[in-house]
Amino acid sequence: MIILTVEKTKKWMREIQKLMEENKEQLTTLDQAIGDGDHGINMERGFREVMLKIEDTDYDTVADVLKSVAMTLTAKVGGASGPLYGTAFLKMSMEMQGKEVDETVFKAAVKEAVEGIKMRGKAEMGEKTLYDVWNQVANFLEEEPVEDWGALLEVCQATIEDTREMQATKGRASYLSERSKGHVDPGSMSSFYIFQALMTVVETED
């Protein structure tokens, strides 16, 4: 089964953009609690720029779309989330190069993205960052077929909830030590929207 086509990938980005716009304030409020209050602003700007870039461009492959996405996020977001999401999409793109994106390729691509985030952010599981969500998604995909998107989203949600009681050791929230507990990680929440958007896209008929 083909999971992503050029069209579906564009649609994925369109859905992400919608979710980031709708949840801009929520993400910003989460970031105000344990960060600097710009995560929603950063995500909204980033995916707005992504759509400006890709909407009217012709692409031959999913890898090409995602490379464009990665470059745009890297050049337009900044902050911590820019390089991290930029790297994630770049690694996916690299893994998909010259391939159709079926289940195997998709899973491998997510795994690569997770490695990319880990490398870029020097993050480990349990440090209260978006790495937690991506890592759990990759673990889930290792065990399960990609059909059950609902279950995958539940994994995301449970991980977000897990970040609430963690003490951050990476990113801006780490400056708060003990006081970072009690709030969920904003980057984990935006990662959830990325997978939620993906579900909407893969579950709709073309």
Binding site: Q32, T74, G79, P83
Partner: protein
Amino acid sequence: MKKIYNDVNQMVDEMIDGITTAHSAFLKRLPNTTVITRSDVRVQGKVGIVSGGGSGHEPAHAGYVGEGMLDAAVVGEVFTSPTPDQVLEALKAVDSGAGVLLILKNYTGDVMNFEMAKEMAEMEGIKVEQVVVNDDVAVQDSTFTTGRRGIAGTVFVHKIAGALAETGASLEEVKSIAEKTINNVRSMGVALSSCTVPAAGKPSFVLEDNEMEIGIGIHGEPGIKRVPIENADQITTTLLEKILADIDYSNSNVAVMINGLGSTPEMELYLVSRKVSQLLEEKEITIYRTWVGEYMTSLDMAGFSITVLKLDDQLKEMLNKPSKTIAFSN
């Protein structure tokens, strides 16, 4: 807090135009970038110095671009590290072959974006070294975490590295004096009110009338603890003691910076400065020079930070060298 702007998404862009137009005698904007450089950029034979970060900290960093300090400042969105492509443009613009020192503050975003730029620049054959300022003693230092963040002490690093670079020193020498400065500078801050990120439109946090936030950074992130507000002497004592406990300042000469975070009047900053002088004198630490004013702000936050830099003869000499910038002139 009401803000003066046109389009919140254009604020940083318009600010950059405002800065480079107002000070066109010695600053310019690299076309189609968010990079502000000396108008005589690419000084032959000189090591380039580039710094930058999110905006909202004005006069940092553009206020330190000019003869004797930075060659370029890379400007990000409010509280958001600039992106690697912009940093790369700055590196390319300032390198005259002698290499470039990147001065950054220890924030995950800054570190990642600047490191990506460094890699790209190196691929283009530019020699780049980097130093990471982490002067804030409010944050626990640890290799397992992000570690300490960089705040107002960064200005001294700009000044000292910039002064040495101006003498024609090598990239290694400039990096080494920047590192010496970082090793000897410590800071800590307090907030009496939050800032408001323009695009967020609401305060980053809320403090009651009788509360203050000890150990605040410069991004509206919460501090270390929230406590009842105290008088000027008490607050000053709390911050200074934490700073002095961190490295051994005994019998040394120091430079002091009392830095306003945005909306604290100078009158109040000078009360802090007064108490710092008294306390250091009691401890037989000699103040070589004091700076009081707004050097590294957090938008419209009320509060201040104290920075103490331990000096040797070389650092003293560099601090006193001429500099021609908007916010730090000798």
